[in-house]
Symmetry: C2
């Protein structure tokens, strides 16, 4: 099979590598991508093409791994170029977003949700797939580090699973960091730390890990949090958790790709607020 990969980012490249391990060819759009992406794609042996039309015409299937906010646009471009193969959206989008994207591809659409880090290590990462063609697509990943799971469920299910899972893990990290920020704002952290030690042992460590693990990636979590909020809203559940998480992660955007931010840095950014937040609160302070 020839499979177009939009795009070989940190996560996407490992999907392409898994396809290569299963003897498929992987095409990528070499135009206007970053140097890091270009290096990754070349090292992985992907075939660069110059235009989206090239990629669409030469691919039997297209897999999209991109920021959630761009998922609809990418799908629209591919559909608009007359693509008639299988389209897999593997992004962290709300189930209704997946269903909407799928309408352009009818039965040729497969909904995907990736859980875990970029798949370099066997057992670390799963690609959940739902929709009529999910078993076929799962078969393309039979070997390699990435485990593909065909869900025997309609389009929307893989996205719902991703939203549920990430809504908990990333929502929890945001809650931990917000708690620390609130306690520091009121200068009660020493007592909170002592109380945690006594009645919630391990919590201080979880805050530290949330700062180290989430803050450097926070800049790209906000869009995902908004998709999760939309998922809650569509299920008639309150969406406030994940809108708040989106706001908190936006405040941490300056830590983008910083390898080891200190908890103090994280808390300081959270308590400064975002420029927009400050403009609003400035009117009432």
């Amino acid at each position: 099979m020839k499979i177009g990969l939009l795009h070989p980012g940190q996560m996407g490249v490992t999907l392409g590598m898994a396809l290569r391990q299963n003897a498929h060819e992987v095409l990528w759009l070499a135009d206007q991508r970053s140097a890091a992406t270009t290096t990754r794609a070349q090292q992985a042996g992907f075939i660069g093409v110059e235009t989206q039309l090239d990629l669409v015409q030469r691919s039997d299937a297209v897999i999209c791994v991109c920021p959630p906010a761009a998922a609809k646009e990418v799908a629209g471009q591919v559909a608009g170029l007359g693509f008639d193969g299988v389209y897999i959206d593997a992004n962290a989008v709300a189930p209704q977003t997946a269903v909407e994207i799928g309408t352009s591809f009818a039965e040729r659409f497969v909904d995907g949700g990736i859980i875990g880090p970029p798949a370099y290590k066997s057992g670390s990462t799963r690609l959940y797939l739902s929709g009529a063609q999910a078993p076929e697509v799962a078969g393309w990943f039979a070997r390699g580090a990435l485990q593909a799971v065909a869900m025997d469920a309609p389009v929307g299910a893989a996205s719902a699973l991703k939203m549920s899972y990430a809504g908990y893990t990333k929502g929890l990290s945001a809650l931990l960091l917000a708690t620390q920020a609130l306690a520091e704002h009121h200068a009660v952290m020493p007592w909170l730390a002592a109380e945690w030690e006594q009645s919630q042992p391990g919590t201080a460590g979880r805050v530290e890990r949330a700062a180290l693990g989430s803050a450097p990636k926070a800049w790209r979590f906000a869009g995902e949090m908004r998709e999760i909020a939309a998922s809650y809203n569509q299920a008639d559940l309150p969406m406030g958790f994940h809108l708040a998480a989106a706001q908190l992660y936006e405040r941490l955007a300056p830590l983008k790709d910083q390898s080891e931010p200190s908890l103090a840095q994280v808390v300081s950014l959270l308590l400064q607020g975002s420029p927009e937040d400050n403009a609003v609160s400035g009117a009432t302070d």
Copy 2:
């Protein structure tokens, strides 16, 4: 010392018992309280008085343990009756609410925050105290199951500590239950459970414990969640987490005091929404 206790509910009675263990007299307002409260107060050897004026005039200090939404009103009544002793607000209120309550009592006000279950077992529960008289009040609890901690911090600190602590524990329970509800709404719970087992072991158990532990008390968590939301807002942090938690806990009010609600019952109530929520969403569905 003669100490007025408003009111000897499930938590409050154990504060009074601790005062009795330290040889203080405890007065309570016997008028219009429930049979359960009356029984608790009598068994604990508290002295019943008939009017709030009686209680105020005969007490050297007054401790208030009541639902957060009633804290201001109770304090206002006591101040309005010319009380000139030490007033301790031990409720789960926002720091700014504590500060506001304190203005009626000047230097005689002590801010309190209780962390832990009703204090029957030594080491289970702490009463944090802040404000100028905190050390003196802590001394009244020198013996007994309840540990009083004088914080050497101004009024507002004990409440801020309570808000930070409960905002995490009760916010986390709400997030766990919401996650389960979202996954069940989309019928993806079997895959989420399998994924948790693999990458987040123990999470399913945490959801079960949140249902068992929080749902029967959810009816009285909503007010506390709103005070926590106000605390976040006042610190220029997003308040959505705890507004969402308040909404979720309100939906669980029908489980009031039910000893062992099943997770299925909890999820079913969460997914039905509250009558008010339904009215709102009904307009847009």
